[in-house]
């Protein structure tokens, strides 16, 4: 069964109508002290502006004796006000500087050792996310999953030009500079979806280089990770495809227990449950797999198959993602095929070319992509 498709209006979408609003929303200790710093600074700066505006207005419009008008003179050489104003400003600035430095110490490093380390690599114009090492290693793209309540270390690299990683409601941003590995930490204290974006001009599609951070309970996160570590089950004739579409899958929320608990399909179970329609879709998905190996495997990896391309996102668990194209389209079957055929009209200049597909090709490839759960 295809996995749930998370829509943009998911109930756990933190931030609602302004998902990047970090000034009013912070969901973790990597950004909360900064939130308060921002309020204090904004309040003081606004007060200064109001005060200066008031002083200026009074200075301009205060009453002066009519006899004095237009007469050039120097009635008061008062440096006193400059002294007082400057002294006050200095005290306030020094106080603010000290406060800012304490916040820097607080958010500059995690309070305790990071529970998890994730490597994020910026590409034009998508995000490669690498978890783990050795045999447990897996890659995904454009969507990070993290467990709630623990600091997570993110290592930041770039494959081409300078990008910047930013999840506004969780932490500040850090540049991803080719040749240099930068690092930052983040932590989400509540489960949900947090949106991120590239914030360093990186070329034509800098505007469309977004990503998601999904914070899950430790159990859900462990289940997600375990599922990700498995390769894709190939739709070969030996193992029946498990891609019967189910109508009630459509709006499954983020941390759904039944996904975690769902066992891997065994050949017997599937052979029993597959009606005759599964054979047709199985044929399509096998044809689609061949098409994929021919046209897509040069750039994309599907672990568990022969596709080992490294130029584009890992597609092993494509259906697990909320969005396509680094935050551009929702991940539906129609969008998936449309993306392949017309990527340049959605994201002109993207490194992926439009792939010409006949109607039959579309059906085949679509069926195969539907198996990448």
């Amino acid at each position: 069964m295809p996995l749930a498709l998370k829509t943009a209006a998911s109930p756990s979408d933190a931030g609602g109508s302004a998902p990047f609003n970090y000034f009013l929303h912070s969901h973790g200790p990597a950004s909360a002290p900064t939130l308060y710093l921002g309020w204090v600074l904004a309040a003081i700066c606004a007060a200064v502006c109001v005060l200066i505006a008031g002083l200026l207005a009074y200075a301009i419009w205060r009453r002066r004796a009519a006899s004095e008008r237009d007469v050039i003179g120097d009635p008061g050489r008062s440096l006193r006000w400059i002294g007082i104003g400057t002294a006050l400003s200095t005290v306030v600035l020094c106080g603010l500087a000290a406060y800012a430095l304490t916040v820097l110490a607080e958010v500059g490093a995690p309070p305790r050792a990071a529970a998890l380390s994730i490597a994020v690599t910026g590409y034009d114009w998508w995000w490669r996310i690498d978890y783990g090492d050795g045999a447990q290693r897996f890659s995904t793209a454009n969507e990070l999953h993290i467990p709630v309540g623990v600091p997570v270390r993110v290592r930041l690299d770039s494959a081409d030009v300078i990008h910047a990683f930013w999840v506004p409601q969780l932490a500040g941003k850090t540049q991803m500079i080719p040749g240099v590995s930068n690092e930052q930490w983040l932590q989400a204290d509540a489960p949900g979806l947090y949106r991120g974006e590239c914030t360093q001009f990186c070329g034509a599609q800098h505007a469309h280089m977004a990503f998601d951070v999904i914070a899950q309970s430790p159990a859900d996160f462990a289940a997600w990770r375990e599922r990700q570590q498995r390769g894709a089950a190939p739709p070969s004739p030996d193992i029946a495809a498990h891609s019967t579409p189910s109508p009630d899958i459509a709006a499954r929320p983020t941390s759904s227990p039944d996904i975690a608990a769902r066992p891997a399909p065994s050949p017997d179970m599937l052979a029993q449950s597959a009606p005759s329609g599964a054979d047709a879709s199985q044929r399509l998905s096998i044809a689609g797999q061949a098409l994929f190996m021919d046209r897509c495997a040069g750039c994309h990896t599907v672990r568990g198959s022969e596709a080992r391309g490294e130029h584009g996102p890992d597609l092993t668990h494509l259906l697990d993602r909320r969005m396509l194209g680094a935050g551009l389209l929702t991940n539906t079957a129609a969008h998936r095929i449309d993306w392949v055929a017309r990527v340049q009209s959605y994201k002109p200049g993207a490194r992926m070319p439009d792939i010409a597909l006949s109607a039959a090709d579309r059906a085949d490839l679509g069926a195969y992509l539907d198996t990448l759960q």
């Binding site: 109508s17 050039i72 006000w81 603010l96 820097l104 030009v161 941003k173 930068n182 070329g203 002109p348």
Partner: protein, 662 residues
């Protein structure tokens, strides 16, 4: 008076006691004939008159302001709503890059150079800048650099990697077209223009002041431009080097920034910003000087805290060299290093606070005259503070990790650049227009254009703080409907168009007033400084007699009556044997030497042309052209430097000091 102690009557006079006296009509005619440029094309190409050069700078820079403004308005239409389709990403990237390049390099400093070029000799009582031909060169090179950039832009080959042009994106691999090379060549030319201009200002200040105009009597505009000029000399080499290294990487095969071969992208950022930050102070300090000199006129009193303001100008510039890392807080540098630069970036506001309070005190303790220049100067004080405090917010390192590269920074930089450069410039044009043209600008239209500009500016740029706080990144050609940025962007677009309309009103005022404004006398504002003691517009020779100065506000001495001494404006050194002016000592301005000034020359024009030609040759890979142009540059320099008996200044001439000395 005997003119030469030498027995050989044909030998040039190396020592001479110059004539003193009053100027009559015959003398003025003689001076005019000596100083005025030839008519027609000959004069157009060869003039070294600082007033002509100043006006050229003002007009050319203003045209670039308008071009940059059109680029901005196009972007604002694209961003007025989500998923805009007016512009492709490539078009948008060229537009935002050219907008930045134009405003920062082709408008903001050249505009201030225009004011300084025109006014400095008039403010300090001199007949010209120290190096008149160098002055002409700096203008021609600036013009040709701008033409090169815009010609390339019109062919789609203009810079398109952002005005800070980060590597590796602007390197050969990711920007294979000529765009970054065009930017590099343009910047090399502009570096030459600014450097020679800075040299000119510094030497002029320390050499050409009228007798008695000691260093603590010069107007704040002079302090501002002097400080900016010294800073430019130190900062421009960094950016010229950066662009040269980039050009080498791109065209010659070096690997300064090439990551695969061990190059360092961060090197670019350091080199660029160690220039870029001092540069932004260079483009605001002279404008602050305009306000410091203009406010006293419209408050009917001297500036409160002149020394504090002059010292703050220098302190700000000095600190401006110690904060460049605040453009790089998110690059992963160690937090300890960031702490120093963050603290310095907060502390740099303190000298600015001194100046703000000085201005407010000047208004408070003065009697405001509600003319258009005053409106701009007073409005500027508020915009200065608003821009300054948003800068304080970005100086807090952890907060900058959120604010950096969002529209909050765009709001901040526009408040400081428009607020601290454009508003004083427009006010300054209203203020000195009578001196430039002999006519007054239309007062009512001026006031209206101020209010439209002020309100439009705030409606346009204040919401950018909001869209920045809502997480909108910079340099995106469009955004999604669910990002929450649509309203702020729409309001910004509307405000920008209103502001643009105010600029149009101002242009209409200038155009109308140039021919039809009320005739202004020498000093329509009853202003205190020297430029108002000569006719409007000034004659080619500026001062018929070299004045002797006794205070900061020579024309107000009777009214202020601070000391019994009075400046002498009607009687003094005449200096009519060719183009001459007085050179004085660096601090106290005691008369020291008669300076023989060069006349009009074509060599600056040709040198600028050939320099540009050489770089165009490099751009086109036409090596023969580059070589030929370089030879032509050498030839122009030879013509320029060719010794001339009339410029002989080998021995300092002892000037009769009894009338002009302390």
């Amino acid at each position: 008076m005997p003119t030469s102690p030498s027995a050989d009557r044909n030998a040039p006079a190396l020592m001479r006691v110059p004539e003193r006296g009053r100027a009559d009509a015959a003398l003025k005619r003689r001076l005019q004939a000596i100083w005025e440029a030839p008519p027609g094309w000959r004069g157009f190409l060869s003039t070294v008159d600082h007033k002509t050069i100043g006006l050229r700078y003002l007009v050319t820079a203003f045209i670039f302001l308008l071009l940059g403004g059109v680029e901005a308005l196009l972007m604002r239409v694209q961003l007025a709503g989500p998923n805009g389709t007016l512009l492709t990403p490539e078009q948008y990237n060229q537009l935002f890059t050219m907008h930045g390049v134009t405003m920062i390099f082709l408008y903001s400093l050249p505009m201030l150079s225009g004011f300084s070029n025109y006014l400095w000799p008039l403010l300090i009582g001199s007949r010209d800048m120290a190096f008149p031909r160098l002055n002409a060169l700096s203008y021609w090179v600036f013009l040709f650099a701008g033409l090169l950039l815009y010609a390339s832009f019109s062919l789609g080959a203009g810079p398109d990697a952002g005005w800070f042009n980060y590597v590796p994106f602007s390197g050969r691999e990711f920007s294979p077209g000529p765009n970054a090379d065009v930017y590099a060549m343009g910047m090399l030319l502009l570096g030459v223009s600014t450097t020679v201009g800075s040299v000119n200002f510094i030497v002029t200040l320390f050499r050409m002041r009228a007798p008695g105009m000691s260093i603590n009597r010069v107007p704040i505009l002079v302090w501002g431009t002097l400080t900016a000029s010294v800073a430019n000399l130190l900062a421009i080499p960094a950016v010229s080097l950066a662009f040269f290294l980039l050009w080498m990487d791109r065209q010659v095969g070096t690997h300064f920034f090439d990551v695969a071969a061990g190059g360092k992208p961060l090197l670019w950022q350091h080199l660029f910003w160690i220039f870029g930050h001092p540069w932004v102070y260079a483009v605001v300090l002279p404008a602050m000087g305009i306000v410091s000199d203009g406010l006293p006129t419209f408050c009917r009193r001297p500036l409160v805290g002149y020394s504090a303001v002059a010292l703050s100008t220098m302190a700000t510039m000095l600190l401006g060299f110690e904060v460049w890392i605040h453009h790089m807080f998110a690059t992963g540098l160690p937090n300890l290093a960031l702490s120093f630069f963050g603290a310095a970036s907060m502390v740099i506001s303190i000298p600015s606070a001194v100046t703000v309070f000085a201005w407010i005190a000047t208004i408070w303790l003065g009697k405001p005259v509600f003319k258009t220049p005053f409106l701009f100067f007073a409005g500027f004080v508020l915009l200065f503070v608003m821009g300054g405090v948003s800068g304080v917010m970005t100086a807090a390192v952890p907060l900058d990790w959120q604010l950096n590269e969002t529209y909050f920074v765009v709001a901040h930089l526009h408040y400081v650049l428009l607020g601290i450069n454009v508003f004083p410039v427009i006010g300054g044009i209203h203020y000195w227009f009578p001196k430039f043209s002999g006519r007054m600008m239309h007062e009512r239209l001026g006031a209206w254009s101020f209010w439209v500009m002020f309100i439009g500016f705030n409606i346009g740029f204040f919401p950018m703080h909001i869209s920045g706080l809502l997480g909108m990144p910079r340099r995106i050609y469009t955004y999604a409907a669910d990002s929450g940025w649509s309203t702020a962007n729409l309001v910004t677009t509307l405000g920008s168009f209103l502001f643009a309309f105010g600029i149009l009103m101002f242009i209409a005022n200038v155009v109308w007033s140039w021919r039809r404004g009320a005739v202004a006398g020498d000093n329509p504002w009853q202003a205190p400084t020297l430029e108002w003691s000569i006719p409007s517009p000034p004659p080619a020779y500026n001062f018929a007699v070299i004045p002797s100065i006794e205070s900061r506000y020579p024309l107000w001495e009777d009214m202020l009556d601070e000391t019994p001494q009075r400046s002498e404006l009607d009687e003094g050194l005449l200096l009519t044997q060719g183009r001459e002016t007085i050179g004085s000592t660096a601090l106290d301005a005691l008369p020291d030497v008669i300076l023989k000034m060069p006349g009009d020359a074509y060599s600056p024009f040709y040198l600028a042309l050939f320099m540009t030609g050489a770089l165009v040759g490099l751009l086109l890979h036409a090596w023969w052209l580059a070589a030929a142009m370089t030879l032509a540059c050498a030839a122009s320099l030879v013509c320029w430097m060719w010794p001339s008996a009339s410029l002989l200044q080998r021995l300092p001439i002892v000037v009769d000091t009894e009338a002009g000395g302390a």
